[in-house]
């Protein structure tokens, strides 16, 4: 941490946050858990700072980029100030999506018994009287703001109403009003509205692709039995699902739940016959305290069965290499974690994080499906295919076909083509007859790769359509047929179908 930030008081940093209100991107960056403003501060100070940042972001409005920070507090946050600030800030998001309602319901479950008085007036102020707001009050206001889009959680609100002796009179009135309004509201067409941004799907984290980080293969680790191994030893030769945690985490919705889920994943992996091909690893943020015996018991008490394929680990020489490799979302006071996000990673056989599930609680089945995908890719030797790459690949196939189909037959036609474009410089290009066979070769190569992909996926439809499309283009080119449009359409359709077909392992089918 720079000496400047270390020396600054919380109030100075709060002033800096206020000043960043005009620059939402800069303000949002302050929410990175590893930002130096959090280093060596107590957890209560971190809460104050993060809450203030959310409130500052709300002044200009929560965006797609910052929405996940709001939702993570509603999803698994237990601190009343942060939950209140998040609920408050959510009302500045431009879209009232039905997907937001379940997060608010989760927040109600999390803070019903911690409905503290909260003040947003000044930084660091704690309410000592009832002229204030509270997390439940903010959540109910946001549900009211959501309007008919909250209809999906009406049954849960009605269940809450039956247990309303746990709510204050004011919140009972809010709840009654909310339920009455929702009963009379018509359902919102979810398709007509919009989905939350990438990173949030069906209430769980969804996988984000990661860029390849520098190698930490030699980093020393120690497992729950005191066995020493390197990071390479841990990861080499199989896919690994890795989470981060520490035994002194006091939010049971984060570390305790994540390790419990890893125990469930262990069973799912066994049920699907993938033992040995997919390993799990729970790595501690707190290696000085979380000694092997402590790690093992923590995992066992949460349903893990630690063994050579499912380990709890610490980095005895310090966590910095892991922090860099994973770009971990964690900050410390002394050696103690003062803030961390939920984070789970899928590592390939070289230990590179290919996918990350961050901030929101993750679903075991979704994580396992992604791990299986990485496993399959590993077995076919292919690099990860993202949706973007698939689309680009299909487009190139079509472009090659189109270009070959439309290539002018003579220099006069060439001149006519380029003059039609009227693009500066392009009309001075000479007629290049050698381009035509190059384009033909490109078309044949793409046809060949389409059939190769069909062999790998076992799906022939795409390749057949591309073949028919190419035949029509060739026939059109040589004047025996006038079906270039059909040819191009079939080529494009076949390429897209082939690009999105899921791969299967060469030697065995992995069960769905």
């Amino acid at each position: 941490m720079s000496a400047g930030v270390a020396a600054r008081s919380e109030h100075d940093i709060a002033a800096m946050i206020d000043a960043s209100a005009a620059d939402p991107d800069r303000c949002a960056d302050l929410l990175r858990e590893d930002h130096e403003i959090y280093a060596q501060r107590g957890a209560a100070a971190v809460v104050r700072l993060r809450g203030w940042i959310l409130l500052t972001l709300a002044r200009t409005g929560i965006t797609d980029r910052t929405l996940v920070h709001v939702l993570e507090e509603l999803d698994a946050g237990l601190d009343p100030y942060l939950v209140a600030a998040a609920a408050h800030a959510l009302r500045t998001y431009p879209r009232r999506s039905p997907d937001l309602a379940p997060f608010l319901m989760r927040a109600i479950e999390n803070v019903t018994a911690h409905d503290e008085p909260i003040s947003f007036e000044q930084y660091g102020e704690y309410a000592t009287a009832d002229v204030s707001t509270s997390p439940l009050q903010e959540v109910f206001e946001t549900l009211a703001w959501l309007g008919p889009a909250a209809r999906a959680i009406l049954p849960q609100l009605e269940t809450l109403r039956r247990k309303s002796h746990a709510l204050s009179k004011a919140r009972r009135r809010d709840l009654d009003r909310l339920i009455a309004n929702l009963r009379n509201a018509t359902a919102v067409d979810e398709k007509a509205c919009c989905s939350p941004p990438f990173g949030i799907r069906d209430l769980w984290s969804s996988a984000r692709g990661r860029t390849t980080p520098p190698s930490i293969g030699d980093t020393r680790l120690e497992d729950h039995d005191g066995n020493s191994l390197t990071f390479d030893d841990l990861c080499r030769g199989h896919v690994t699902i890795a989470i981060f945690f520490y035994t002194r985490c006091d939010n049971p919705l984060k570390c305790s739940l994540s390790v419990t889920k890893l125990g469930r994943l262990q069973r799912l992996i066994e049920e699907r016959g993938l033992t040995g091909q997919i390993h799990t690893a729970a790595m501690t943020y707190d290696p000085a305290f979380d000694l092997p015996d402590r790690l093992r018991r923590y995992g066992q008490l949460r349903g893990m069965r630690p063994n050579a394929e499912n380990r709890l680990l610490r980095a005895p020489d310090g966590i910095d290499p892991l922090r860099r490799h994973f770009a971990l979302g964690v900050s410390f006071i002394e050696s103690l974690v003062n803030r961390h996000r939920i984070e789970a990673y899928i590592l390939d056989a070289e230990g590179r994080p290919v996918y990350a599930f961050e901030r929101l609680r993750w679903d075991e089945q979704a994580v396992l499906d992604r791990a299986v995908e990485v496993l399959n890719r590993r077995e076919t030797g292919e690099a990860p295919t993202t949706p973007a790459r698939s689309i680009v690949s299909s487009a190139m196939t079509v472009m090659a076909s189109l270009a070959w189909a439309l290539f002018p037959k003579c220099p006069m036609c060439w001149a006519a083509y380029v003059s039609a474009f009227g693009i500066a410089g392009l009309d001075r290009l000479p007629y290049l007859p050698w381009v035509q066979p190059v384009l033909a070769a490109a078309m044949i190569i793409t046809l060949g790769t389409t059939w190769l992909r069909a062999r790998e996926t076992g799906r022939l439809e795409g390749a057949c359509l591309v073949t028919v499309g190419v035949i029509l283009i060739v026939l059109t080119r040589f004047g025996t047929l006038d079906a270039a449009g059909w040819g191009l359409a079939l080529t494009l359709l076949g390429s897209v179908i082939g690009a999105f077909a899921p791969r299967i392992a060469h030697n065995r089918a992995v069960p769905a």
Binding site: A44, V47, A127, T128, S132, H165, K169, R248, D293
Partner: protein, 291 residues
């Protein structure tokens, strides 16, 4: 007529149930009543069922009211605490409860302040932590003695008290404050060298050394066992530290300790030398690992 009767019966039954509670509350709330009568009335309150919000709010009023006798306010605080365990309506007043506790944390009465700050500190309340840290940094603002502040701050291992605790270990205002500072540092693996040093320092009091042993055990059990081994072997050690060390070995050492001939010979020697507690602890250890 017949339709009204069941309703009348029902409300009479409900009224009968709530009558004792109202009676109890009216005595409790009666400012003109004698303190002993009011205190006795607390015992008969009934707060375990839903619908106790109003009664709980009345207790909060008493707690906030600085004109009330302190004994009545303290009993109201205790009763609210009991309701936190038992009353399904307690979450409904949680917000007012926390607001009231924060208000009362700066009350003129030191016992009330101490109890209230304790309740808040155990909930890891940021307000309480802020007040306690301020008091440690500036004694003029202290609401409780420094040793109490350290004890309360230690409820949250994520609190910002470590630098202050280290300072107090080095420059303690009193012995209890030093002890509480060491307890607080028991959450910091970086403090292991401090505990090892103090554990072996014969100029420190047995109490301070024993706290260091307990803290070291929680952070690095192997290093504790190495240190207590040396303490047992040391002929110049204090009996109290020998006894603590023998207990640590008997309760906490791995079974392989029985193979440590030098140590077990010394334990056998201690079973017939030194104070009675040392002899007893030594014999218990030998009993666990018969030679």
């Amino acid at each position: 007529m017949s339709k009204k009767r069941p309703a009348a019966k029902k409300s009479a039954k409900a009224a009968k149930k709530t009558a004792p509670r109202r009676q109890g509350m009216s005595v409790v709330m009666n400012k003109r009543g004698g303190v002993p009568e009011r205190l006795a009335a607390f015992t008969n309150l009934s707060l375990s069922k839903p619908g106790s919000d109003d009664a709980l709010e009345s207790l909060l009023e008493i707690l906030r009211d600085t004109e009330e006798p302190i004994d009545v306010r303290l009993r109201a605080l205790q009763t609210l605490g009991a309701a936190a365990f038992a009353s399904p309506s307690f979450p409904a007043i949680e917000r007012d409860y926390i607001a009231t506790l924060r208000q009362v944390a700066t009350d003129p009465d030191p016992e009330l302040r101490q109890q209230v700050l304790g309740i808040l500190a155990r909930e890891k309340d940021g307000f309480a932590q802020k007040k306690l840290l301020e008091g440690l940094r500036d004694p003029a603002k202290a609401l409780v003695p420094p040793e109490k502040a350290l004890q309360l701050l230690a409820y949250d291992i994520h609190a910002e008290a470590y630098p202050l605790a280290r300072e107090i270990v080095n420059h303690p205002p009193n012995a209890i404050a030093k002890r509480e500072a060491l307890r607080l540092l028991g959450a910091d693996p970086g403090a292991v060298p401090i505990f090892e040093r103090i554990l072996r320092d014969k100029t420190e009091t047995p109490e301070i050394r024993q706290v260091s042993a307990a803290a070291l055990h929680g952070l690095d059990p192997n290093r504790l066992q190495a240190q207590v081994r040396e303490i047992v072997l040391d002929p110049a050690e204090q009996d109290e530290m020998r006894e603590t060390s023998l207990t640590a070995i008997k309760q906490l050492a791995p079974a392989a300790v029985a193979q440590d001939k030098q140590l077990m010979d010394r334990v056998a020697q201690l079973s017939s030398e030194g104070s009675e507690p040392v002899k007893l602890s030594a014999r218990q250890l030998l009993g666990k690992y018969p030679r």
